[in-house]
């Protein structure tokens, strides 16, 4: 192991996050965020979604640019495959959230990351969504994430990074715990 005076830089401004936490504990209303997306049906199982604005810190906020996402089903479902399937978006959301967390926790713990890759798999019995077996749920029955991480840290410290990232992850929480969902028609 080499020692160096170069400060750890994973590109995460941890100080800003810690400052935000301290500020928001005293102003809890500013911590209330609303995330938004709008989705338009394009035909078949293809839809086109737009993410631009969100609400937080007491006001309307916007991304630097508009992000768009096409979702569809693959050809084995007799679809035209214009984009990833919605469940794959869920996997992308989980892996992205955990990976952002790994970087932030590493920064906070003074661990330099050299490379981080995650592969994620979600097992699903599609008899559920097809209505073919009432005892099978629609959603994933198991999700597995595997990380390959090269960092200036021990294996134990790297495992702790990944564990802590799960503990602080919004998407991990969304998936592992129930959420009330209301769907209305205008």
């Amino acid at each position: 192991m080499t020692t160096t005076d170069t400060p750890v830089n994973n590109g995460v401004n941890v100080q800003a996050l810690l400052d935000a936490r301290n500020a928001l504990v005293d102003a809890p209303e500013a911590a209330q965020f609303t995330w938004k997306a709008s989705t338009e049906w394009k035909g078949g199982t293809h839809s086109h979604s737009v993410v631009e604005e969100f609400f937080g810190l007491g006001g309307d906020q916007a991304h630097r640019t508009i992000f768009t996402f096409d979702a569809d089903h693959p050809e084995v479902f007799a679809s035209e495959d214009h984009g990833a399937t919605p469940v794959e978006f869920v996997l992308v959301g989980l892996a992205s959230c955990l990976t952002a967390g790994v970087a932030a926790v590493a920064q906070n713990r003074g661990i330099q990351l050299n490379s981080v890759t995650a592969t994620i798999e979600g097992d699903m019995d599609i008899l559920g969504i097809l209505g073919g077996d009432p005892e099978v749920r629609n959603g994933f029955n198991h999700i597995k994430v595997k990380y390959d991480i090269d960092a200036d840290a021990s294996q134990e410290d790297i495992e702790a990074l990944v564990a802590q990232s799960q503990k602080r992850s919004a998407v991990f929480d969304v998936i592992t715990n129930p959420t009330n969902v209301t769907v209305e028609v205008n």
């Binding site: 809890p28 495992e159 564990a163 503990k167 592992t176 715990n177 129930p178």
Partner: protein, 408 residues
């Protein structure tokens, strides 16, 4: 002083040393909560040698044992006599509010007025029961640890114990052994071995200075004050009671109860990570201990370094549990405790009903003090032996505030 438990009596000791006049108001007898709000088989989690208060040390013949509740009560009773505390027992405080002199304390036996008041009313007055408890089917009996005395008070049938900290694991083991099959819902927890390298884990935490770590030295005080009580039990055999031990006994581990809908408990899918986190944190502590042994040249005087088997979690734990099919007949909410401040009529609580204080000095309430909370001033603050340093510090602050600066 409000409360004649070990912490209140320790403050009384230091006040008397400085000849500061005071009265210790107690709603019941000395050590009231130990008498009335603990289950029958409970023993302290700290070994006897660690049961020490300013002016009183354990002098029995079993320094490595753990006190039963009657022994704790006797110990604190002895302490009250040793320090000759000016007690007003069987006096219940109805309200505390600021007045011209400082604070007015209304009791069912008269009203006191004082420039300084110390709250030593304990940190475990009320059981924390999650809001989802309202959705438990009416056919199921629910019990809090404050009501629990032993398994015989539960109906026959399976039991869901929610919470796997010190209280939850101890009750789960005892209930399961009574022939009522236990399912244990596991949230965030702290895993510790009872004995490591031949010494009690509390001995290591004491010697390595972990328990003396101050509130202003930890990097996340909010987290430090909210750490669940460690998975420990005090038994004559100095057994380790962790999740693997419970699994071996036949207790089934499931995830945190995250919701209850239509008679089904929804269980979090995060249990594997929480167990992994607890294993990693335990290993980090054991690593700290190993480093300390090495630095102090004690390698030959204690047993060899080793690690414990990781917590076993089944491949795909259930994500829901039927509460309405009649199999589960009772639920025990071992989901933590909180202090009761309903009688405190002063602007000293935050939006979540917690006392705002800086290491026991209550915020925006000059002359008001608090002792006996987790990590109040040090990691050991909530232990019996942790009362001494906190009581001394707070008495110093109180004496300076009251203009009685020099110890007599």
């Amino acid at each position: 002083m409000i409360g004649a438990g070990h912490a209140g009596l320790a403050v009384s000791h230091f006040l008397s040393q400085r000849s500061i006049g005071h009265v210790v108001i107690e709603r019941g007898e000395v050590a009231n909560t130990w008498r009335t709000e603990r289950w029958d088989s409970l023993r302290l989690l700290t070994p006897n040698w660690q049961s020490r208060l300013p002016g009183l040390e354990y002098d029995g013949d079993d320094p490595d044992g753990y006190m039963t509740m009657p022994e704790v009560i006797e110990f604190i009773d002895t302490y009250a006599k040793t320090v000759d505390a000016p007690l007003s027992t069987h006096t219940t405080v109805k309200s505390l509010r600021p007045n011209h002199e400082g604070y007015e304390v209304v009791t069912d036996d008269g009203t006191w007025s004082s420039p300084t008041v110390v709250l030593a009313t304990g940190g475990f007055n009320l059981a924390n029961i999650p809001a989802i408890a309202d959705a438990v089917p009416g056919s199921i009996e629910t019990v809090t640890p404050l009501q629990y005395r032993g398994p015989d008070q539960l109906p026959d049938g399976a039991v869901l114990v929610v919470g796997a900290s010190a209280t939850g694991i101890q009750i789960a083991e005892e209930v399961h052994a009574s022939g009522r099959p236990v399912t244990l819902s596991v949230g965030e927890h702290v895993r510790l071995p009872r004995v490591y390298r031949g010494k009690d884990i509390m001995w290591w935490m004491d010697r390595t200075g972990v328990l003396d770590e101050r509130y202003d030295e930890v990097d996340d005080l909010v987290r430090a004050r909210n750490i669940p009580s460690p998975q420990l039990v005090g038994t004559p055999e100095r057994r380790t009671l962790d999740l693997n031990a419970l699994t071996d006994q036949g207790v089934r581990l499931v995830g945190r109860v995250a919701g209850i809908v239509d008679g089904r408990a929804q269980l979090s899918g995060s249990m594997r990570n929480l167990c992994n986190l607890a294993d990693l944190k335990m290993d980090r502590l054991l690593g700290t201990i190993d480093d300390w042994v090495l630095e102090n040249g004690l390698e030959r005087e204690v047993e060899a370094s080793h690690r414990f088997a990781p917590t076993r979690v089944e491949e795909s734990p259930p994500v829901s549990l039927d509460l309405a099919d009649g199999r589960i007949s009772s639920i025990i909410w071992a989901t933590g405790f909180r202090p009761d401040y309903s009688w405190l009529h002063a602007r000293v609580l935050d939006r979540k009903g917690r006392l705002r204080h800086d290491a026991g000095v209550v915020t925006d309430a000059p002359g008001l003090y608090r002792i006996g909370l987790n990590m109040l001033r040090r990691r050991k603050s909530s232990f019996i032996h942790g009362a001494e340093d906190d009581a001394r510090d707070l008495t110093d602050h109180l004496a300076a505030f009251a203009g009685v600066d020099s110890p007599v």
